[in-house]
Assembly symmetry: C2
């Protein structure tokens, strides 16, 4: 009775639901403190104090019908200007309020970008491993997701594979750096090479190919690594940003799109994002939290907490024989599984009360994703379980 | 470069934008206090004090990562249960948390319902005059909106026309009561007759036909009129609800869907709404405001303010010769225009600094919509302008 598309999706998602239920079941048997749930990217670090202060200040200083009312579908003009000025200053790209559209997180942002760009059968390229939702977002508008492999060993996009993947139907490329699930940050060279290929192919086909940079982890970066600024490198570029991780506000659904001012048909694109925000039912990004992020620009969660988690888990996994890139950002490890079959590996891990996501969910079998945005104590406690898991796999 | 669908929508919406710009232009010339903007449904009545109190209580009593974190895509279990219990008690329909999906307002709710139900080319019926966004929501999923006329004089749906409009591709009916733009409330008889026709047609075609009741104005009701409870009358029914009007929180994007527990394929539908919420990019309804509405159930804006506005404007319009149904709910008047061409009428109204929306935008030429959710003083001041407008039209 539900649509054919949704029927298929519901069947697939019930596999993931089954996994969550497994977590609940294990918690009931062994106690929540003895279950090591590395499966979900729900930040455990507290939002900065500025957030609470901003909410209370706004409630006492501003008019309730302004705080909670409708505004332009693109968001409050003053907030968009504050964000534009912040980016201009921080990243050295000249933006104004006209370049910014406030969105319901990065997920809302990506959907209105794709709604704006895609005709049915248009192709969108991304690099595996990739955040599985991209496939759904593209399918929402009857587009086709084309997955191109990253380079083995580095998880940097394979530029030759990208070039081969582009054709006259290619409308956009989605990149995600710092990356979910690998934690890798795309280098300046990578970004420049992607831009070069896109420019070449735009000329070859006489089309516009848009670069969509999904950046919810932009501030979750370790060891003073710089995340390259996409808007400086490629004209037809969007940034999809979310405050979910930088302010630990994933449930509030607040983010923005920054649109390159030199984009082809800039005015049409902006107008379209505005209309798409409205007609997809977002209408506008939640109003109070628009005002909150406008007042807390530059505030960030304590990234050191995630860094300590990373170091603890990474060092242990390496010491017991896992192969894994040391992530420079985000809060995920993406090690090779100790046996080839990643789904079976996830099953075995459950014996030790470890919950993780098989790499297959990200288009990369033979790997698994571990979200380390959980308590340090919990990770400490889990190390022994990982050791047992490794031993078990070696004896198979 | 943007998609063909969006190109068309952007061109249409720029006509509406031009109207807003006209408002700004008039304000600059004559002063904002001398421009009578009846074009937008942005509530001017303050949210109840309970809302502010609830926000502050939540911030001081609950854990920040719980307040602002991810939860099930359908929303917080405890909030859904509170809402279910509230509806059960108020309306006498037995609901549990399983019947409720928290949404980004009613617009988000309608979109995830339609995403869940529609295959391309499926038909959705609504009654004119209708909220123009329904056409976009249905088109988002490649469905086809079929508009059936209401009865002249009452704006109650024409049941015979409904019966004729249904065929084997009819997947859903959208109704909206209290109605935007007419302010009419569908009677118990109307609802029962709609249900009868749908049941008959379901049998005839061996299909499920879903009734989607869009109810953002449920609490904006005058003169002790009762709004019939859809869930009591028809099994395959959804309520799409929003707190935008009852709590004056339109910018916060908070509402819910209530799903009839006896619906065909209930489990699949619920699972699908959950997945659709996620993949369309809503992910979940904004988290803090989920908790706020859970704590403020039963709180309402002061509807008397709207009632006074209605009486003032309605009585004046009637006294100067307008034909108009006296609205029983919502905050709109939908009079016949004094000349046949409603677009031309809107142009003439502008001469007197009156901004209104031509009925054509709602599928009903020859009428216009006046939103009276503005200050009483402003309405008082506008009456003379309406008198001049009426005189002008009579002399044409």
């Amino acid at each position: 009775m539900i649509s054919k598309k949704m029927k298929r999706l519901v069947e697939n998602s019930s596999i993931i639901r089954a996994m969550f239920e497994e977590g609940t079941r294990l918690s009931e048997i062994y106690g929540e403190e003895n279950v090591f749930d590395f499966s979900i990217g729900n930040p455990n670090v507290k939002p900065p104090e500025d957030v609470k202060k901003a909410i209370i200040d706004i409630l006492s200083e501003e008019e309730p019908n302004l705080i909670h009312g409708y505004m332009n579908n693109s968001g409050y003009e003053d907030v968009r200007e504050q964000i534009a000025n912040y980016i201009t200053k921080k990243d050295g790209v000249k933006l104004t309020a006209n370049n910014i559209v406030m969105t319901c997180g990065a997920a809302g942002g990506l959907n209105i970008i794709l709604k704006s760009l895609l005709n049915p059968e248009d192709e969108v390229i991304t690099f595996s491993p990739f955040f599985g939702e991209y496939a759904n977002y593209v399918d929402n508008f009857y587009g086709k997701l084309v997955v191109v492999k990253s380079q083995d060993g580095t998880f940097q996009p394979d530029i030759n594979a990208l070039e081969e993947g582009i054709n006259e139907r290619t409308k956009a490329i989605i990149i995600n750096s710092p990356n979910n699930p690998t934690g890798v940050i795309y280098s300046e060279t990578t970004i420049k090479n992607i831009a070069k290929v896109l420019e070449k192919k735009q000329k070859e086909y006489g089309t516009s190919i848009f670069l969509i940079s999904d950046e919810p982890y932009r501030e979750i970066v370790y060891d003073d690594i710089e995340v390259p600024v996409i808007l400086k490198v490629y004209k037809n570029s969007f940034i999809g940003y979310s405050y979910s991780k930088s302010l630990s506000l994933p449930g509030e659904r607040i983010g923005y799109i920054a649109v390159n001012g030199e984009m082809d048909n800039f005015e049409d694109v902006i107008a379209s994002l505005n209309v798409a925000n409205r007609i997809l039912g977002f209408v506008n990004a939640p109003s109070l939290f628009q005002r909150v992020v406008g007042r807390t620009l530059g505030a960030e969660v304590d990234v050191n907490i995630y860094k300590k988690n990373r170091d603890l888990l990474y060092n242990h996994l390496i010491s017991i024989g896992f192969e894994c890139i040391k992530p420079e950002g985000a809060f995920y490890l993406f090690p090779k599984t100790l046996i080839e079959d990643d789904k079976k590996f996830a099953q075995i891990a459950k014996k030790y009360n470890i919950l993780l996501v098989p790499g297959t969910a990200f288009g990369s079998p033979g790997y698994c994703r571990l979200s380390y945005c959980i308590g340090y104590d919990k990770i400490e406690k889990s190390l022994e379980a990982f050791t047992k898991l490794a031993k078990d796999c070696r004896n198979l």
